[in-house]
């Protein structure tokens, strides 16, 4: 019996000693013990006393609703979005529900939007949760409601049409009333309504969806008092913490290790060589009773590395290589019209080469995972973003069938895509350590904890890129032709003769009316693994595209807002968002000037990503010493039907701040060694540099689109455009650093 099955919400049979792990300080919050019940629900048999109409909703005899999230809550507010949809269709109050994470189950919980795009996984990514749940969760809740109403009608022997529900109480015109809980037994006996028989509420009757006070974030109360449980916080009886020494030169191997000093530290249980491969770095893991001892043991190791297999990657040399490649023809990604060779009379040719660095995700909670190998399977405790892919990777590492690996979903302390690693690196590493420990007679669950240094040096970066652009302008400032060539590693494993949709997104689909446009790609097969970072390809293509539009507009002295307007005339959705941000930011009136020696300007940018259009106007001050400050960012958003306006604003604010960090961040390599280690040399935005952000939403009745990521792409170009408006110099290389070029 796996640990999962021994856990239930109410049982005293927790393998996890609650008191020990919470210090007697309060109730377990993210229902760490929910595994048992969900597992039962997932197996299709009903828990006694509960109404389980589908994989997403459970209702107990008190009418209390458990909403099951197939998505990770990593800060993006998905649990609350799901709660809002469920409460809306069920007509219940926020107090009448809770949200728990689902187990990994490819069949029940496959992400419908990712699946449609070819990723057949249960996973959280691509800002798809609300787009998918808009159908699944509303239908799940509405069918539960329909069944409960039918059960009430049968019990009271009245027509169902004479019933209504408010705050989880069913009432009849005769005055009869009762809570949902009273009808769960008879509802359980009813057939499930056919999919096309499920009727959803009309927008005009919404009481929660789209309302500022419709649903407060369900996870926030436990996030202000330290009670929310993350992977880092789980401690199981007999558990060992593993801290690992990765090879400094990436993919070097352990030649020998002197563990004498480490083994002398009281509490160190094992020192294990962990073979790496082309996915995980491996190295030497120290397993100990607690994190500090494991780290101390790790730091006491003397390791000799065999560097023959080590990477020699050097990012500066790579830029040189990329620039050479960028000067040659690449794979055609899109080709409209004809490229113009020479500038017409009075026109101009812009040759612009951009260099953008590797970026690390660097979430607040460094990567970690807790693995328990049991007699007949294994269990993973994780802020799990890539559920079934990680389940499969873990199963493969252990030689098990995927269903033998079970997952307990926890909150993640950020991720920004890192916990959806396409190669499951940190999961495999944790599993391999637990496997090797077991082979060496060290039993007990193993929690792998990366220190910040392993996290920053943990690869799977946003790829570095070079963009070579050649734009021919007519004398009137219009674009005669534009050639955009991108060089980089592919986000998704992609053969060289195919287009990597991650690397190239937002290039050939540029909405601007440009008749002659050629987009080319060069894929570089580097040995530093890369992956998606919050907003994926738009992290680089929005920067290049939107900075160039300003440069193009500047040639003919046109206003960058008006220039964009003209090129977007055929795209009313873009125009609406662009006009909204310009209006709110007072684009057409002069920006108040700064103190003596300060120069101020606005910059604008717009981008569609993950189905959502976001435009931003940044107000920037450049000080006399050429340092700069982003004072305020105005944002306009069209993400379809608004579900939680406060959460949307919060995600956009966070997206702006996440983008702002790019102004200072870069991962560089010298001889296969990552040069950055912690927040001192891989900085993150801090409050003293964080701009005020104001977000405005377009009223829309279209189905919801993403919001976790789309706030990010326009920020950097809006800021860079403001800076260029001040300095007259266009910026080609990131990071910008703390100073602008005078």
């Amino acid at each position: 019996m796996s640990i999962k099955h021994s856990l239930t919400e109410s049982s005293e049979g927790f393998r996890l000693n609650r008191r020990q792990f919470l210090g007697g300080l309060g109730a377990l919050t993210l229902a760490v013990g929910f595994g048992g019940r969900i597992a039962v629900a997932a197996e299709g048999s009903l828990q006694a006393g509960e109404f389980v109409p589908n994989a997403f909703i459970r209702i107990d005899k008190d009418g209390f609703v458990t909403v099951i999230s197939s998505y990770l809550e990593m800060g993006q507010g998905t649990f609350t979005g799901l709660a809002t949809l469920a409460a809306e269709e069920l007509d219940i109050t926020p107090e009448q529900l809770k949200v728990v994470g689902s187990p990994a189950d490819a069949e029940k919980y496959m992400n419908p939007v990712l699946a449609a795009g070819g990723f057949k996984v249960q996973g959280t990514g691509g800002s798809t949760a609300m787009a998918g749940a808009w159908t699944t969760m509303r239908k799940a809740a509405a069918s539960a409601r329909a069944m409960l109403l039918q059960a009430a009608a049968n019990t009271w022997k009245v027509p169902v049409t004479e019933l209504q529900v408010k705050d989880g109480i069913v009432s009849h015109t005769s005055g009869k009333q009762g809570s949902y809980g009273e009808f769960i037994d008879s509802a359980s006996a009813l057939p499930l309504p056919a999919d096309d028989q499920i009727s959803l509420k009309d927008k005009s009757t919404y009481t929660r969806v789209g309302k500022a006070d419709g649903m407060m974030r369900v996870d926030i109360p436990d996030k202000v008092n330290g009670k929310a449980i993350f992977t880092q916080d789980i401690k199981l009886p007999g558990m060992l913490v593993a801290v690992i020494a990765h090879p400094p030169r990436k993919f070097a191997k352990v030649a020998s290790v002197d563990k004498t000093a480490a083994m002398k530290i009281p509490g160190v249980e094992a020192v294990l060589a962990i073979p790496g491969d082309n996915i995980i770095q491996g190295g030497v893991a120290v397993l100990a009773k607690n994190t500090w001892i494991a780290k101390k043991g790790r730091d006491a190791l003397t390791i000799t590395w065999d560097e023959s297999t080590g990477s020699r990657e050097d990012s500066e040399a790579l830029f040189t290589e990329y620039k050479k490649l960028a000067a040659t023809r690449g794979l055609e990604v899109g080709n409209k019209g004809q490229q113009v060779e020479e500038a017409p009379d009075g026109g101009k040719v812009i040759e612009a080469v951009f260099e953008l660095p590797y970026l690390a995700h660097s979430p607040m909670e460094p990567m970690n995972a807790l693995v328990e190998i049991t007699d007949d399977g294994a269990h993973l405790w994780n802020g799990e973003q890539w559920h079934t892919a990680d389940q499969a990777a873990m199963a493969k590492e252990l030689g098990l069938a995927p269903e033998k690996v079970t997952v307990t979903q926890l909150y993640a302390g950020g991720s920004f895509g890192r916990r959806a690693c396409p190669m499951s690196d940190y999961i495999i590493e944790a599993t391999r350590i637990a496997k090797i420990a077991k082979q060496n007679g060290v039993t007990g669950p193993v929690k792998l904890v990366w220190m910040r240094e392993e996290d920053v040096g943990g690869l799977f970066y946003r790829p570095m890129t070079v963009h070579n652009n050649r734009i021919v302008l007519n004398a009137d400032g219009s674009v005669a032709s534009w050639r955009w060539r991108v060089v980089g590693q592919s986000f998704f494993p992609t053969p060289e003769d195919q287009v990597d949709s991650g690397l190239m997104e937002g290039t050939h689909e540029l909405p601007y009316a440009i008749d002659n446009m050629l987009v080319e790609q060069h894929l570089y097969q580097g040995d530093i693994p890369v992956s998606w970072l919050r907003s994926v390809g738009h992290t680089h293509t929005a920067l290049v595209g939107e900075v160039l539009i300003d440069e193009i507009a500047a040639f003919s002295g046109k206003d960058p807002y008006q220039y964009r307007r003209a090129l977007l005339a055929e795209h009313p959705r873009f125009l609406k968002v662009l006009d909204l941000v310009a209006e709110k930011a007072n684009w057409n009136s002069p920006l108040p000037q700064g103190k003596n020696g300060e120069r101020r300007a606005r910059g604008i940018a717009i981008r569609e990503s993950f189905g959502t259009v976001v435009a931003q106007v940044a107000e920037v001050t450049v000080r006399a010493d050429n340092t700069y400050k982003v004072d305020k960012v105005y944002c306009a958003v069209d993400c379809g039907q608004v579900i939680n306006p406060v959460n949307i604003a919060s995600q956009v604010e966070g997206g702006v701040g996440f983008g702002m960090s790019f102004l200072r961040q870069q991962i560089t390599l010298k001889g296969g060694v990552v040069q950055q280690t912690n927040f001192n040399n891989y900085p993150a935005l801090r409050i003293n540099e964080a701009p005020a952000v104001e977000t405005f939403m377009v009223d829309s009745s279209n189905p919801p689109t993403g919001i976790g990521e789309p706030g990010v792409p326009p920020t950097v170009p809006a800021v860079l455009n403001a800076i260029s408006a001040i300095t007259g110099k266009f910026i080609r290389r990131m990071p910008l650093g703390a100073h602008v070029q005078a």
Binding site: F21, L22, G23, L25, G75, Q76, G77, M216, R217, D219, I220, P221, D222, K223, V224, N225, G226, A228, I229, F230, Q232, K235, P266, N290, T291, W292, I293, K296, P363, M364, E365, P366, Y411, A412, G413, G414, S415, F416, R452, V646, N647, S650, E653, G654, G655, V656, G657, F658, M660, S661, N678, F679, N680, A684, L685, R686, I687, N688, A690, A692
Partner: protein, 152 residues
Amino acid sequence: MIKLTINGQPQTFEGDAEMPLLWYLRDEKDMTGTKFGCGMALCGACTVHIDGRPARSCMTPMRSVDGASISTIEAAEEDRIGAAVQAAWIEEQAPQCGYCQSGQVMSAIALLKEKPSPTDEDIDAAMSGNICRCAAYPRIRQAIHRAAREIK
């Protein structure tokens, strides 16, 4: 033997005196509200109060807290200002992933104890040691101003 109090409870400790307070709290006392973010006093996730002053517990060895009085996020609600800060955090819907928020709340409480009506500059100075990778900064700022109004 090191003697200290944690949230008013007397404690003794006889282990490795070099162990940072952070890991004593988290791994020995199972008080996991205080978070590990960087281990180098760079991010503030591990902020606690030592004798009433905010401190980064990840760089505070146990030997240095002999005789000290520690308070952590777990006891924040027992404090009038602590409770006001937590309520303001909820009102403003400040947290996103939440991982930095114990540290943010503890730094904000310390700020308000010293400056009950902080200016934006005071907030910048007191809070810039606390990284929030989710960049919940605008709401954190608003929440501090709100808490300041509430405790007047």
